[in-house]
Symmetry: C2
Subunit: 374 residues, 2 copies
Amino acid sequence: MFRTRSRLADGREIIYFDDRRGRVPVPDPRDLPAVEPRCESRRDPLTGEWVTITAHRNTRTFLPPADQCPLCPGGPASEIPDPGYEVVSFENRFPSFSARTPVPARSAGSARPEGSASRGVLDAVDGHELFPRMPGTGRCEVVCFTDDHDATLARLPLSRVRLVIEAWAERTSALSAMPEVEQVFVFENRGVEIGVTLHHPHGQIYGYPFVTPRTARMLERASAHRDATGGELFGDVLAAERAAGSRIVRAGEHWTVFVPAAARWPVEAHVMPHRHVPDLAGLTEDERDELAVLYRDLLRRCDALYGAPLPYVAGWHQAPVGEGRDLLRLHLQLFSIRRAPDKIKYLAGSESGMGAWINDVPPERVAERLRAAG
Amino acid sequence: MFRTRSRLADGREIIYFDDRRGRVPVPDPRDLPAVEPRCESRRDPLTGEWVTITAHRNTRTFLPPADQCPLCPGGPASEIPDPGYEVVSFENRFPSFSARTPVPARSAGSARPEGSASRGVLDAVDGHELFPRMPGTGRCEVVCFTDDHDATLARLPLSRVRLVIEAWAERTSALSAMPEVEQVFVFENRGVEIGVTLHHPHGQIYGYPFVTPRTARMLERASAHRDATGGELFGDVLAAERAAGSRIVRAGEHWTVFVPAAARWPVEAHVMPHRHVPDLAGLTEDERDELAVLYRDLLRRCDALYGAPLPYVAGWHQAPVGEGRDLLRLHLQLFSIRRAPDKIKYLAGSESGMGAWINDVPPERVAERLRAAG
């Protein structure tokens, strides 16, 4: 894998990933105004969870016509100056988190806020201690999987999926080294049904300045499990799923693909490594090779479920940068809101209000269908 | 308020609420098969949260034509046999939780599972202790606000909104007394944008057999706050919001309507009583009277925001039946996914995968707009 770094017209970083040596990046010809993100995270006093307010994002690009796609290479509206690329990652122009967010100087000496980045800067909304606030520093990148607008990750050659994994691992390392970043989340939103604004095949990476609520919860559970049993939660869950067998979709030498026993979505699958590894950067070459095969296979099964591209979210749960490296095992969670060929699962009162998921499809049936879709 | 109880053809309970005495329920003329719910809650080993699997619900009624509305009174397809009604609540035909769910006899003597109903019955998926499971016992009701198919709660007379509150309070008491129910959630989902399947103005009530994840989290926070400061979290948050003032929409003698400092939705408002009260059943007559005025006013402001009926979820957070009665204060959380006249906030990777909300609209601006919409 060869990595080539450059800058866009407004100073944002762009990184090309190629199987072959020799890329010379084309300069960005645009006259772009400088990015001025206004990101701010506030802690909800009733739940303790950080919520991020991003006033500048409400005007972001929404489903542009294909000939103005900002992810197609070259051209006046493109974010990628090169006339062709394999895999590329660049700073999001409309970020939820950005190291360019102004940090108030007066707070520079503040104490570390609970659950936030060790280097986070704390003040408070209206100066009230019940409403802690910090600048939404961090990093958001867009990762393009191919320069072919009409492709999908599931239909790319294996070598390209392998290169995407390489890019994910490298960006995980790079973002983990940034002082603002506490946790790196690599994910793909796919389909207009879940609000995707650009059709070009791409994913995203968030470098959060705090540990996210789901991760915090998993760390608590893994810690309690270790205290109670001496065991490693993720390894024990994987062993239990493999022993039960009824929810296994496919297993390799290094990875198992399964529908979790308490799946909360009408389609949900986890991809978990057999070895305890905290993040994508820690995977061996062999593990990356097999992941490319099994992940592409899972995506193809998903698209076969309803005979149409499945709208999905696929997110990599990784250990935070500074804690719980021995507790949280890397795993992919892929899920879809499609519960029938013509029906969507909406998150309404019970899910969005109370956090209590209702799933109309038994996990065992989903596993059976995913096995049959191979 | 006068309450009249009856049964539907398949044995489900129906309760009429009237301002005047004298209702004689009409018998249900239908030949309905008995309800056979298959509800099952499984605890997610990675988060500790209960997820409910309801295989029988995937075939439920979806946006029927207006002349087959099951919530319009009388007629062959109606769930309400009477030719007219004011407010009525009845057991959902497609429940997420039901006391009719078969309970395996062999587990009758099991210990109380963590976070579940004190009378809950525990076994495990595949017999594995990492996958606790219990029958999805509990109760789901549908509450119709009017027999007028084309009305909205916001446009009903004040006396009717007051009667709806009376019905909510009575059903909260009734469901709290059921041995299966650990927590009562009164809510309204409104709008096709959030997946509402029936247009007739109605809400729902869930009697959960466990404490929901959001409630459990709030109880933890309120307990920690009391330990640290001696104060009552909800009262202190309310006082802080009132002192700040910038997010207050409207305040009365007994209630305050405000946008929370860490609002996670593009439109969000909380309605909180000035007195510590655990649930709707505990409200005084004066509090109920003022609530009718302020809640209807809030709904009208919401509909005025974009000059069109706002899709929303409005849910009443109430203390669980058996714990935290002194910790969790009753409050309404109303929120919408509409972030612009033609744009929806979708929950994608960050929210649905990590529980980390990104909100494009500053809470102070939402409060300003709601104030101006009065």
